[in-house]
């Protein structure tokens, strides 16, 4: 792993080196090395409590590992300059939506903060939420909220998607839509790191499986 030439770091995508997480006396994982190339999907699998969410938060730059470094295209994620932070999008268990705002307002807010080019109406149509654009977040079902949260992520146009169990609460159609998004995102040269309990859904040649 250390033999990876640093010169080509820019096209290396996401590079984790020697990651370790200790919770007090208890070690969740140690010496974790992996590289997610552009156009590659990485699946994080493991039982509940294995540290999947913690790992994803570290990769997104939200949390600090006990040891090790995470680089995104050669730059440490925690030290990414503000204008490059938009290249990474993270979606955890919380959808990051406002229950008091309507679907349209939530999407519009994402679009303006991330300065995204995509049109909110197009994303809403793809989400099958176009009929509910003026419904407040709190009146959406858990699955619809999930879809809206992922829709914001789609809108933003990030290169690296970090998703924590993105298909929870989703019906069959919603799941297919989201899985299709992830596959297309990778086909377009994007990276995706997905924590999942159904690794079969996204496994294909070249998929990296990180077992915790």
């Amino acid at each position: 792993m250390t033999a990876e030439p640093r010169g080509s770091a820019a096209d290396a995508g996401l590079d984790a080196h020697g990651l370790a997480i200790w919770r007090g006396e208890h070690c969740l994982f140690e010496g974790l090395d992996f590289t997610v190339r552009q156009g590659q999907i990485a699946l994080v699998v493991g039982p509940n409590g294995a540290g999947k969410t913690t790992l994803l938060r570290i990769l997104a730059g939200l949390a600090l590992p006990t040891a090790g470094t995470v680089r995104w295209r050669g730059e440490e994620v925690r030290a990414l300059p503000a204008e490059r932070r938009g290249e990474i999008a993270y979606r955890g268990h919380a959808d990051g939506l406002k229950r008091e705002l309507t679907v349209r307002e939530n999407l519009e807010f994402c679009r303006r903060v991330w300065n995204a080019a995509a049109r909110t109406d197009d994303v809403a149509t793809e989400l099958r939420l176009d009929a509910r654009l003026d419904v407040h977040g709190r009146h959406l079902s858990a699955g619809q909220r999930r879809r809206l949260g992922l829709g914001c992520l789609k809108l933003v146009g990030a290169r690296l998607w970090i998703l924590d169990e993105p298909t929870t609460h989703l019906d069959a159609a919603g799941r297919d839509l989201v899985l299709d998004w992830i596959r297309r995102h990778a086909d377009d040269g994007g990276c995706a790191v997905v924590a999942t309990h159904q690794p079969d859904e996204l496994t294909r040649p070249g998929t990296l499986v990180i077992e915790l």
């Binding site: 939200l62 993270y90 919380a94 990051g96 008091e100 307002e105 303006r112």
Partner: protein
Amino acid sequence: MSAFAAIVVRDLKLAFRRPSEVLNPLFFFVIVASLFPLALEPDEASLRTIGIGVLWVSALLAQLLGLDGLFRHDADDGSLEQLMLSPVPHGVLVLAKIAAHWIVSSLPLIALAPLVAVAFRLPDGALPTLVAALLLATPALSVLSAVGAALTLGIRHGGPIIGLLVLPLASPLLIFGARATDLAAYGEPTAGPLYLLAALAVFAISVGPIAVAAALRVGVE
């Protein structure tokens, strides 16, 4: 800049859609201020003596109410971590949150303050100074409160601790604000304390957001 406006507009919308959080501090301010005359001798002379102090203390305490929600709501629904990951510089993001909070919590209070002041028989000449002093003191107070709110983000019921953190730091604002109003009531020049308040406001606004951003980074971990 457009992101700054987007965050301010969003927070204003959110505030108007849960109005109790905006109205509670205002009611608190009016009620606390109007309780004092009931407990003390309600003659004009003593009202005028205590009026300025009562006004400033109750305004300060009212500002501390509802502070806990400044970052708490965003942290609970995950939008704070999304904002921290967004391409908006953290300082700008924090300033936008503080600006929205100031508009919602301080502006109505500043509008109400002259009414309460009149009830305490403050001379009319002191009212412009009172408003000016509040306009200068409240932004600094909002920044201080944001530091407190960000530092206590990891604590479940951080409200009382924010008070303990912020109130000692806010005492210069109280001293100079009350002093300026007091001087104006006696027809003396008020420039000194007002300039000091302005200096504190500039200092808080330029240094505060950096501290808040650092505290938030730790808070979302």
